[in-house]
Symmetry: C2
């Protein structure tokens, strides 16, 4: 067992784990030899009370050197953190994902409940199903969406169900569900409550094997914040043009885009090159 | 109209109001002449962008000089802020108030809901009525308890109502209500929601004319943090002895209390003197 301790995202001490680093490298597509090489190198460089974040940065860097695509995929969690709250809001990205999955999506809707008016982050409709979506973005990666948030989301759903909005004829035969989406994890109590109330949850590694990271990975719905060369001015440009997903940057004419926005063309070309690397099969 | 602007507790600019200062002095028992004198003095000393807090401190100081009892009463809001979160929790003080009002009170209870276990700040029972209490303490005086908190409190109540705890025989014929208590104000949406859901609210100036400040004033349930001479060591002593209300400090034997606690006897005698001044008719 390792005698080196690390400080995780929640500020707790835990032993350094070679296996965790190894598996995290495998997970993003490194082969066994590369994963072994990286885990051993990171272990050698780790010191007592090193933060999880610093370990992640090392893994990302070493992956990127040998296998850029895996390096980018590794930074997905951090890329999600770079979304929102201002300019590039998490709920817009989530809305975009649901659109690509075939839903009709409306974001930031004000709907009348029985008691009060609610601001709903998104409504997503497919066939006879309507999801009422609440998004919780956390800048701190280690934080969790807790029971109080789940309860407030459910109470909002209840108030809507008995309110004016759902009395509309067009919504009569729809099956409605409440869904709470986050870029981080859920507390175990929030999960127990949501399951019991038949509320949907979508977050980091939840539901197991079908979490947000899986939805993104398997469909290549990467947020543009995952691209290493993305700077503030490009992020602003993407926000203005509603480019939320990496694949959308490939649809732009770099030359025209540069002329209109004032962002240098070579910066846009660099982003497109990274996008191609990330998305290639 | 005054040309001087102040910054209120919520960080907004508003014109200085002689009348507000005058009325706040009247409210705590100053006569018209004293209230007029204080309002005029404070107006003379006010400068642009002075904070509400600084104005309050001036009023308190000038009241205290001429009429100590009114000076102490004036600081009630600040005394509430000095409660909790650590050592001297708000929910213990609130529990104590409900006890004095004739309720049987239990604080910090874990109760099984249908879905999860809930930590309840207090249960208060009188006759066939049972209140399920949630306390929200805010260190920032200008903050408000918002709709999300009200919804989470209601969802918790719903989960308890359909859960294991309320299936107990002893609770069968009780009328239960959810009550949300705060040392600050409620947002207008939280109030609308609570009224609609038949939840009780108790906070600063709410319900109108029967708010927490009224319950405290009319029953002389002042928290011991209102006493100007209360220092950290005395606060610790009071916490240990479960002395939450000003009237309780008068029941103590100062000499014995000093010997046991190590707090100087003259400090305790000073607190008792202030307590008598505040509570006298």
């Amino acid at each position: 067992m390792s005698s080196i301790f690390i400080i995780n995202n929640r500020g707790e001490r835990e032993p350094f784990s070679w296996r965790k680093v190894y598996q995290s490298a495998l997970r993003v597509g490194a082969d066994k030899a590369l994963a072994r090489h990286i885990a051993t190198r990171v272990k050698k460089e780790a010191y007592n009370n090193i933060s999880t974040r610093e370990i992640f940065q090392k893994v990302e860097e070493y992956l990127y050197q040998d296998y850029p695509k895996a390096g980018m995929r590794f930074s997905l969690k951090e890329a999600m953190r770079k979304l929102g709250p201002s300019g590039f809001p998490f709920e817009k990205y989530i809305g975009e994902i649901f659109k690509r999955l075939g839903f009709t999506v409306q974001i930031n809707q004000y709907l009348a409940g029985k008691c009060v008016l609610h601001e709903i982050d998104f409504l997503a409709k497919i066939d006879r199903q309507l999801l009422i979506g609440e998004c919780k973005y956390h800048a701190l990666i280690g934080s969790r969406v807790d029971l109080k948030v789940a309860m407030a989301t459910y109470a909002c759903y209840l108030d809507l169900k008995t309110g004016g909005f759902f009395k509309r004829k067009a919504l009569k035969n729809l099956q409605t569900r409440s869904i709470l989406v986050t870029n981080t994890k859920f507390s175990s109590e929030a999960i127990r409550y949501a399951n019991c109330m038949k509320m949907d949850l979508l977050g980091w590694r939840y539901p197991e094997n079908r979490g947000l990271e899986y939805v993104i990975e398997s469909n290549k719905f990467y947020p543009i914040t995952i691209l290493p060369s993305l700077t503030g001015e490009c992020l602003k440009l993407c926000g203005e043009k509603a480019i939320f997903l990496v694949e959308d940057i490939l649809k732009e004419d770099a030359h025209h885009c540069a002329q209109v926005s004032g962002v240098p063309e070579k910066k846009i070309l660099k982003l497109q090159e990274e996008a191609r690397t990330l998305l290639e099969d």
